[in-house]
Symmetry: C2
Subunit: 250 residues, 2 copies
């Protein structure tokens, strides 16, 4: 599996991804799921990928090829991110049409899902989640994050912490905690963790880090989170015994 | 969906369940998923159910009927909980054999999964998870809890907090937080929440509570957990900017 997420806050965008891929338990490997495109001062586009590795690699390769060959549609000439999401969705559909039936016939899913975000020129930064069918959604005022892959373990912390006026550092830290919690509860999500923060209107990608399994900061945040969560739990008001009854028989 | 869990700690057992059932978004209703059987001073057996409501009701009805009619196998005459798990597994299989093909042909899953735990006589308290296929697992020294239904959202807190030497009150409080977190992130899990604590060797069920949506304690623990989690997050060591690099192009 995989776990990637992106958050859109007033200060900019944050992207985070794990690096584990697996096809069954025997084929566990490490691949970056973060892909960046852009031209400094003009546009920055980040893609995160989940799902069938062959499909995601084929999609990224096609995006690269379209830029290199100056195709009429490519990520460097799109006027807006919604257009870009539409174009990426079309490429996903094409790949699924090409290999999907054979892959599905062998009992595997050909599906790939992407998060794409960034900024083009003076338009506001945006994030999209692009489905295997090629359609897409974006964030809202109330829902500031998008997730793909193994999303459930890391959702409660996002629901509680992510809000519009947090700093990019806090948003990146929260994304890291969300991924690290998922790694602890699910073996198909694994390090290194990549984090990328994009400052609104910067039009350059300057804030990136990759945390390997024994990165001192990752170890420290894992230890501190474990301790803080336990403390947060112990400080909850206890159930008092006068709240208890005898369970009636059915 | 559903979310139920049980924890086995040195002090005894804790059972917790939500009460929402849904077949699609149009058929949302409230059913208790906690079922108790036993005879004070002799045995106490608690079942939690998830999955197809018709199957779970048929299984519970059969368990009741076998006791009432004094069938050779019933929960009141089993010598141990493993035997009881085996017997419940057989009843689940029978129900699936009876209705499964027709239900599956209509596009629904006939599957039901149970958690069963308690104590019989002087044997140690135990908890089992019984699969739709009738086989079952129990807890271990390292894994002190079992979950059924919508398990992922509430797992990270259990992984961090549940341990052998916690009090029953703490284990019940942790189960409550796990369910409440799940309710916040997933609309198919809902109140009332039932909590039952069984003290090792008591052989009576005296500690039970049912928390409705606006129960003052539930509201208070929800507010406090939200605040404590946010605080736990804010107290984590920040990412420092010297950890950041420029993301290399692919």
């Amino acid at each position: 599996m995989t776990y990637c997420l992106a958050a859109s806050v007033d200060a900019g965008l944050v992207f985070a991804s794990d690096s584990r891929t697996n096809a069954g338990v025997d084929h566990v490997s490490t691949y970056s799921k973060m892909h960046v495109f852009g031209r400094d001062g003009d546009r920055q586009i980040v893609l995160l990928s989940a799902g069938n590795l062959a499909t995601t690699q084929a999609v990224i390769a096609q995006l690269d090829r379209d830029i290199r060959t100056g195709a009429p549609m490519n990520l460097m000439v799109m006027e807006g991110l919604a257009d870009a999401a539409d174009y990426v969705g079309q490429i996903i559909r094409n790949q699924e049409a090409k290999h999907g039936p054979a892959v599905a016939a062998a009992g595997f899913s050909p599906d790939a899902t992407f998060i794409m975000g960034g900024q083009i020129g003076q338009r506001p930064p945006k994030v999209y989640l692009i489905y295997p069918q090629g359609n897409y959604i974006t964030t809202s005022e109330q829902t500031r994050y998008l997730q793909i892959g193994e999303t459930k373990y890391g959702k409660p912390i996002l629901d509680r912490v992510i809000h519009a006026d947090m700093s990019l550092e806090e948003a990146a830290r929260c994304a890291l905690v969300s991924i690290d919690s998922t790694m602890r509860s699910n073996a198909t999500v694994g390090p290194p963790i990549e984090l990328l923060a994009y400052r609104r209107d910067a039009l350059v990608l300057s804030d990136y880090t990759k945390l390997v399994e024994d990165d001192p900061y990752l170890l420290e945040i894992r230890r501190a989170w474990n301790e803080n969560i336990t403390q947060a739990f112990l400080e909850l008001p206890p159930l008092t015994w006068d709240q208890w009854l005898v369970r009636p028989r059915d």
